[in-house]
Amino acid sequence: MQINKLQVEAIRSGSVIDHIPAHIGFKLLSLFRFTETEKRITIGLNLPSKKLGKKDIIKIENTFLSDDQINQLAIYAPHATVNYINEYNLVGKTFPTLPKKIDRILICPNSNCVSHHNFITSSFIFKKNKFSNMDLKCKYCEKEFPKNIVLSY
């Protein structure tokens, strides 16, 4: 028997970011400044997930994320889905794809990079390395770092 029980309160209208890896939900809230809004936000942590084992979920009322915002989620939550809700009904579903560049969210691990100063925002482009993994190249200091180094910085 299937149990259709909502783990987090349903929203009438807005965006639901689902399938966020467990423990990443809070990070997304702060990095993407989702909290800098008056809109109602509900968050679920460590929810059961068939796909991930455990997952986090974020629901933002009356807010529809831009394609750019959605794609930037891919760096932390590559398997996330973003659902659009209207009048409690699912009206659209989209999946983040890794963008060509990522602005503002990350910090350059090079301590002498000018992006640490002068109130400017960081900017990285994705580059495939020789092992076909993704590296991140800082627009300013031109240094390339493995993705995990930048994410853990």
């Binding site: 002498n112 000018v114 300013y140 031109e142």
Partner: protein
């Protein structure tokens, strides 16, 4: 001929295409043979050195004066009111860009020249060194010297010696020479200061020959250019430095089997990695290389500031 460098920011050597590099070298050659003092008459150029670099500053400023332009600026960021008042680099550049036709910037932080382009309102920026990142006009003068001494920039065997890990000149020069055909690279350095992977990977990707060698003697008879750099004492522990120091010092006897056309280059300052006796050999070219900085900088300044030549 269309001038692709007109109004361009000169921030990183990687952004200059092969035809653009060749244009700068051609222009350097013309200016060396036939100075054209009025090329930048009535232009005002700012020389903003947020950290002291006497040689680069004097070279740039000489180039500016030789082109007939005027210069404003400061030689050392520690003694300017902007720093004492805590003004940001972006605000400083916004203001200065409204005074002048171009800005030459030297700054200790990596990426500062690129940042400057975002606040210069279209006034061209010339990177005169941003931390350990880029120093594109050094590479232009290196290329000009190689072209001048070897009459080509392809089919060359180039050895690079010393601090290949932190030395930005060798990184940029390798990237620039990799744009030309059939060059071979030989890298000689202490284990702690080997060429970074991103340079080796770039060469591999382009299927360009490169090899790590133990010492200069091993390849001296095969090379056309010997590019020496300073092994920085502070980068190694004292034992490593003592070993490196004796192993990578260039003596006259090391040059016994050198090719006739060999030229020794060095970005300077030299400390003790080239014995003073080497200066008297026909291979020593580092002071002429430094002098070429004037022509390479004159060339890039005039190409960026004048559309038609």
């Amino acid at each position: 001929m269309r001038n692709p460098l007109f109004k361009k920011n000169i921030i990183s050597i990687n952004e200059l295409k092969r035809n653009e590099l060749e244009l700068v070298l051609k222009k350097s050659e013309i200016l060396k043979k036939k100075p054209q003092p009025n090329l930048l008459k009535n232009k005002i150029i700012a020389s903003c050195f947020f950290e002291a670099s006497t040689r680069t500053r004097l070279s740039f400023e000489t180039a500016v004066y030789r082109l007939g332009a005027s210069i404003i600026g400061f030689p050392d960021g520690n003694n300017i009111s902007l720093k004492k008042k805590g003004e940001t680099l972006s605000d400083t550049i916004s203001v200065i860009s409204s005074y002048v036709d171009a800005i030459i910037i030297r700054h200790p932080q990596e990426g500062s020249a690129r940042l400057a382009t975002e606040f210069s309102n279209g006034t061209p920026i010339f990177n005169a060194g941003d931390g350990a990142n880029q120093h594109p006009t050094q590479t232009l003068l290196d290329l000009f010297t190689i072209k001048e001494t070897q009459d080509r920039l392809s089919h060359l065997n180039i050895a690079m010696v010393g601090d290949l890990k932190y030395g930005r000149t060798v990184h940029s020069l390798t990237q620039a020479l990799a744009k030309f055909k059939d060059n071979k690279f030989f890298f000689i350095s202490p284990d702690a200061l080997i060429m970074p992977n991103y340079i080796n990977d770039m060469l591999q990707k382009k299927e360009i020959f490169w090899k790590r060698c133990k010492n200069i003697e091993e390849i001296i008879s095969e090379i056309d250019i010997l590019y020496m750099t300073r092994v920085q004492k502070e980068r190694l522990d004292s034992t490593e430095y003592a070993n490196a120091k004796s192993k990578f010092v260039l003596h006259v006897k090391t040059l016994k089997h050198a090719r006739k056309n060999l030229k020794i280059l060095h970005p300077l300052p030299r400390i003790d990695e080239i014995d003073y006796d080497v200066d008297q050999t026909p291979y020593a070219w580092y002071f002429k290389q430094a002098a070429n900085g004037i022509y390479a900088r004159q060339a890039i300044l005039s190409l960026v500031l004048i559309e038609k030549h």
